[in-house]
């Protein structure tokens, strides 16, 4: 079914305005795109892991959610929603609940890659029918930019500063989408906010499967990445074109590339526009960009092979 914006605008808005995310933040864009893909006749229950999104959309006595929302701690959003889903199934069996409910978790990359990973892995393994969405801004932005497992190499953060003897984060990030796929769950995908049609299509598929689904959506953060706030969509696009954030999905174990890259851009151009990488352009750090490019190329080639493109 074709996805049309003229149809989407008729739907109910499930994330209201007036929340206190920064102007130009990528996370609420990701949330809106996912929620516009939710089945219209179902009730949505959202669990939020601690992070920018949870703390700024649900500040007592205000909630931006048109859905049910339960605030969880960093590590247990998946465990919370697992319990809710299990209770729903039990109540449905007893005939105490008639409506169709769907369950979604929104966690940042800190709450997903690092702190909430154990609960997430457990939830995926137990097979709860939950959609887990990681809005990935590549660091702990809520507390002022600390490195996370999702931060790329070479990035400046407050806990991987640059200076004498340091050129930003020294480790490569882990590939959490592939790790989620290794749980052999029905649907795993990687998306980015600029490609709304792709993100909505992936979220629709994720809502349709009878089992756990995992979406990893790149949501640029202008405060932590250091770029002008109106460029959020452009940055997301550049990341995809530089193949540092490829778009793909894994449906029942089958890997498929969804964003065809016509013209693979050099990483340098993507790094140049962001303040968090500005130190890499000093002569003493030249080698780091090459190392990063090498890692990106290697990951991209491996992905092409996995997706049967090569």
């Amino acid at each position: 079914m074709a996805i049309k914006l003229s149809e989407i605008v008729k739907q109910k808005e499930l994330l209201a305005g007036g929340h206190r995310m920064c102007a130009g933040c990528g996370a609420p864009i990701a949330v809106r795109q996912v929620l516009h893909a939710a089945p219209q006749d179902a009730q949505i229950v959202v669990s939020g892991a601690t992070g920018c999104l949870a703390v700024s959309t649900a500040i007592y006595p205000y909630s931006a959610w048109q859905t049910s929302f339960i605030h969880s701690a960093f590590e247990n959003a998946s465990a919370t929603i697992s319990g809710i889903e299990a209770a729903y199934i039990a109540l449905k069996k007893q005939g105490k609940i008639g409506k169709d409910f769907r369950f979604v978790v929104f966690g940042g990359d800190g709450g997903t890659y690092d702190i909430g990973f154990q609960a997430l892995s457990g939830m995926l393994e137990r097979g709860h029918r939950v959609l887990y969405v990681c809005y990935n801004n590549e660091a702990y932005m809520n507390t002022g930019t600390q490195r996370s497992g999702a931060t790329p190499m070479g990035t400046w953060t407050t806990t991987s500063p640059y200076g004498k003897g340091s050129s930003g984060k020294t480790q490569n990030r882990k590939d959490l989408t592939a790790i989620a796929a290794a749980h052999n769950i029905p649907y795993v995908a990687q998306a980015a906010v600029h490609h709304w049609r792709d993100t909505v299509a992936k979220a629709q598929k994720a809502f349709a499967v009878d089992g756990p689904a995992f979406l990893n959506i790149l949501a640029p953060c202008h405060r932590g990445w250091r770029y002008p706030m109106e460029k959020t969509i452009e940055l997301s696009k550049m990341a995809t074109e530089a193949c540092i954030w490829p778009l793909y999905e894994v449906e029942n174990g089958e890997w498929r590339l969804t964003g065809k890259v016509q013209n693979k851009q050099e990483l340098r151009g993507y790094l140049k526009v962001q303040g968090r990488f500005s130190h890499l352009f000093k002569p003493e750090n030249e080698g780091v960009i090459e190392q990063m490019q090498e890692f990106v190329d290697q990951q991209w080639e491996a992905l092409l092979v996995r997706c049967g493109e090569k």
Binding site: I8, A16, G24, I29, Y62
Partner: protein, 125 residues
């Protein structure tokens, strides 16, 4: 629970007036919270250029694109934070950003914008 939970005097409430567990009894109460004051730039729509493609709608972080009868109908200014994403993504350049002070008719509050821009350019060069 009543459909409109009145929180206007919440700072004066005693403990017993708050719902148990700080439950918010009504969805989307931020609809009543104004974030428009954060804005320093205001989006202005040129309806003649607009083709109602709704690209701005899907990229607005603040759910602030108004749609009326399947047509783009301007911006919800009480929530728009003026990030300028809509102006950036518009394929027809139908949206431009205007200084908020100017939009409010407070020209006397304007910063010497042109000077500032020149300085920025010097820095980057």
């Amino acid at each position: 629970m009543s459909k409109s939970w009145d929180v206007s005097e919440i700072s004066k409430w005693g403990w017993s007036k708050h719902p148990v567990g700080a439950v918010i009894p009504e969805p989307a109460t931020t609809n009543r919270y104004v974030t428009g004051g954060w804005r320093s730039l205001r989006p202005i729509l040129d309806l003649e250029k607009c083709v109602h493609c709704f690209i701005c709608f899907i990229f607005c972080p603040d759910s602030s694109i108004l749609v009326e009868n399947e047509k783009m109908d301007g911006f919800k200014l009480e929530h728009c934070k003026g990030c300028g994403i809509c102006a950036q993504v518009c394929p027809k350049n139908a949206i431009h950003m205007m200084n908020e002070a100017e939009a409010l008719g407070l020209e006397q509050c304007l910063l010497p914008d042109d000077d500032k821009k020149d300085k920025k350019e010097d820095k980057s060069a």
